[in-house]
């Protein structure tokens, strides 16, 4: 029985954080976020930056898979497009636009290019569903990576060997160190999450959910599948493009192989682990997906102390753990970590009157 949910005003009913435990949880998380660059060491900042970038991309994937119910296994392509668009824009417009404004223009540019690519890749989604779409997006991923590596485009993309990336510059504030860049990543990631959460309180977001639940029924209700499926792809690609732009600023050099199938699978794995179709699911999923290899690394370091033989079997074990996470969550907790935490928060809210 649902208890502890009494609302006396519409305002209270419409709130995203509708009880004090949720509010406390989110405020605590934000405080933790601010504490990272102030008190964390370089390693923690590095991991947190990676998580932030991943989080933005996973939120995008969540829009298309979790909310619209379109299977995609190729979202790394959009991250790649975002990253390369940023670098190419910097190289092309370097002299024309003053340095202090370049980043502010390059990020929207990368997002726009990615969204456009999303519309193009989303075109098959109008005709095919489910599996066919998964393979179509997978194919798009292979093709995009191939084109980046191709010799013809090497003058712009750097080809197989990759390309050096510029430093972000916000109105003269050079974000040279990772600690400085973290502020940009964190702010954008929180904004991205807020935007995603609120998207699903609007007409567009509800249309997405209707399409996920039954696309033909949605069409009969007057939702244009054509329009909303493409919009979903465009929005999710835009998120991935933003992640790609930050990716480019974060690393000193980008290589095409960083955006191959493995990244696509990581993005999908993160929402499976975290919880599909839930905003916070992306957060938990990213934390787990990024932390597990690191934990394995630390454990191995403690046991082996840098032995070469043990270090060789570390990579395969990290890979197996990654697969086991996907398989385990699908088998035992299909709604992901979000469900576990929801259950806990609900229990706290109703304590001591009801459990679960």
């Amino acid at each position: 029985m649902i208890t502890g949910n009494l609302k006396t005003t519409y305002r209270a009913d419409e709130q995203v954080l509708n009880n004090r435990w949720k509010r406390g949880f989110v405020l605590g998380a934000l405080a933790g976020l601010v504490a990272i660059p102030l008190f964390g060491n370089n390693y923690i900042v590095l991991i947190a930056c990676q998580m932030g970038i991943m989080l933005i991309a996973v939120t995008g994937v969540n829009v298309v898979i979790g909310y619209t119910g379109l299977m995609s296994l190729g979202h790394a392509a959009f991250v790649a497009i975002g990253a390369y668009a940023t670098v190419i824009f910097h190289n092309a417009a370097g002299g024309v636009i003053p340095d202090s404004l370049l980043t502010l223009v390059a990020i929207p540019f990368a997002v726009a290019v990615s969204a456009l690519a999303g519309i193009i890749v989303g075109l098959p989604s109008l005709r095919v569903k489910g599996l066919y779409l998964a393979v179509a997006t997978l194919s798009a991923n292979f093709i995009v990576i191939f084109l980046i590596e191709e010799r013809v485009f090497a003058p712009w993309t750097g080809g197989m060997v990759g390309i050096n990336t510029p430093t972000a510059n916000l109105l003269g504030w050079e974000l040279g160190s990772r600690r400085e860049l973290f502020w940009l990543i964190a702010v954008l990631a929180v904004l991205a999450l807020l935007a995603a959460q609120n998207l699903f309180r609007t007409r567009v977001g509800r249309a997405f959910i209707a399409i996920r639940d039954r696309d033909y029924s949605a069409e009969i209700l007057g939702i244009s599948l054509y329009r909303y499926k493409l919009m979903s792809f465009a929005i999710s690609a835009a998120y991935c493009g933003l992640a790609g732009a930050l990716f480019a600023y974060f690393y000193a050099r980008i290589l095409p192989e960083q955006f191959d199938l493995h990244l696509s699978l990581m993005l999908v794995a993160a929402i499976i682990v975290g919880g599909m179709g839930r905003t916070m699911g992306a957060v938990y999923g990213v934390i787990v997906i990024v932390m597990v290899p690191e934990v394995i690394k630390v454990v191995f370091g403690a046991f082996a102390g840098g032995g070469a033989e043990l270090a060789m079997i570390r990579a395969p074990i990290q890979e197996i753990a990654f697969g086991a996470l996907i398989v385990g969550f699908l088998l035992f907790e299909p709604f992901g970590i979000n469900q576990i935490i929801d259950r806990a928060l609900r229990a706290l809210n109703r304590w001591p009157f009801a459990r679960g």
Partner: protein
């Protein structure tokens, strides 16, 4: 003209192997409605098992000598005085390797069948009756597990593996053009086609094949007609993993063994969707077409372009015919 013919024939030979791999994917899909994204990694396991039983096991200290290289008296006598690259010498070389080739194939078949059964029993069956999406994502997770496990088990560099048939060069003239082929490639093509036809015939005419088709048509009806659906599932997985083992052995002899074999599965997945998921004929046509297109692309544009041919082809076909060349359209009710 001569070159086109040569490359077309090369393409048909790789197309036959695509078809052999695709038959496993189609069979699993027909029976269980699941597309196995990790099929390429099953093939990789098949290749590694073949390598283990054909190369590593004969090198063990207690393995008999004839397993490593079989040289009876009459063979040595026949070898006397043969020139280096004569076809007869190639056949004799192959005969000397035959025991370990057979052991390798048998080992790969048995081990891969066990692996397929294990996957079906532990991972697929608990999800039976739930959404297909979960099962498909599970095979996506399997990709990482299998590729990590292969790296853990087979750390040594893969050496040369013996070809399945004598590797004599064959030259002949066709429509006034000189064609040059390798005997082993031709034999691989024959093996692949035979197995493909055999499975199609089996699915159409034998009792267990009919059970697979009935399950594909309607799972719950099949259940109530007395067909053991779980048994059908595990049969389909065994079928897929054994054909995968043979395909793996063939690929190991052609391109060597590497973790990249797993990626091969994705291009076959593209081919399967291009042909239409549940149509053996459509998939066969798609496999041959992609094989030839790849060979021609390799000839005209270079090797790296050949790699994306299946993906471009599947995108074009899906945009024009959303259910592939010959796939049946799904009827949805609200």
């Amino acid at each position: 003209m001569g070159q086109i013919l040569q490359f077309t024939i090369n393409g048909l030979m790789s197309g036959a192997i695509y078809a052999l791999i695709a038959v496993g994917l189609v069979s699993v899909f027909k029976a269980t409605r699941v597309v196995n994204f990790a099929h390429g990694y099953l093939i990789m396991f098949g290749a590694y098992f073949y390598f283990t039983f054909a190369v590593l096991v004969p090198q063990l200290p207690f393995a008999p000598d004839w397993l490593q290289s079989w040289r009876p008296e009459w063979m040595l006598a026949m070898r006397e005085g043969l020139p280096m690259f004569s076809p007869m010498a190639a056949v004799l070389d192959w005969l000397a390797n035959l025991p370990r080739i057979l052991l390798g194939l048998a080992g790969a078949l048995v081990c891969n069948a066990l692996l397929g059964m294990l996957i079906e029993r532990t991972l697929m069956r608990p999800l039976m009756g739930q959404s297909v999406f979960a099962m498909i994502m599970l095979t996506v997770g399997l990709i990482s597990i299998l590729s990590g496990a292969a790296q853990l088990i087979w750390t040594s560099d893969a050496e040369f593996v013996p070809a399945l048939a004598p590797n004599t060069p064959i030259r002949f003239e066709m429509f006034g053009a000189n064609i040059f082929l390798f005997g082993a490639d031709l034999a691989n093509m024959a093996i692949a086609l035979l197995i493909f036809v055999g499975i199609v015939v089996m699915v159409h005419y034998t009792k267990s094949g009919v059970a697979i088709r009935a399950t594909a048509e309607d799972q719950s009806t099949a259940y109530s007609m007395g067909i053991s659906v779980p048994k059908v599932f595990s049969r389909a997985w065994v079928l897929a993993s054994t054909t995968g083992a043979i395909a793996g052995a063939i690929l190991a002899t052609r391109n060597g063994i590497s973790p990249a074999l797993g990626l091969f599965g994705f291009s076959v997945l593209a081919i399967v969707l291009m042909g239409g998921l549940d149509s053996y004929l459509g998939v066969f046509i798609a496999a041959m077409a992609v094989g030839v297109l790849e060979a021609l692309t390799q000839w005209k544009l270079g090797g790296e372009w050949a790699g994306i041919v299946p993906y471009v082809a599947v995108l074009i076909v899906i945009l024009i015919r959303p259910h592939g060349l010959m796939g049946s359209k799904e009827i949805e009710r609200i």
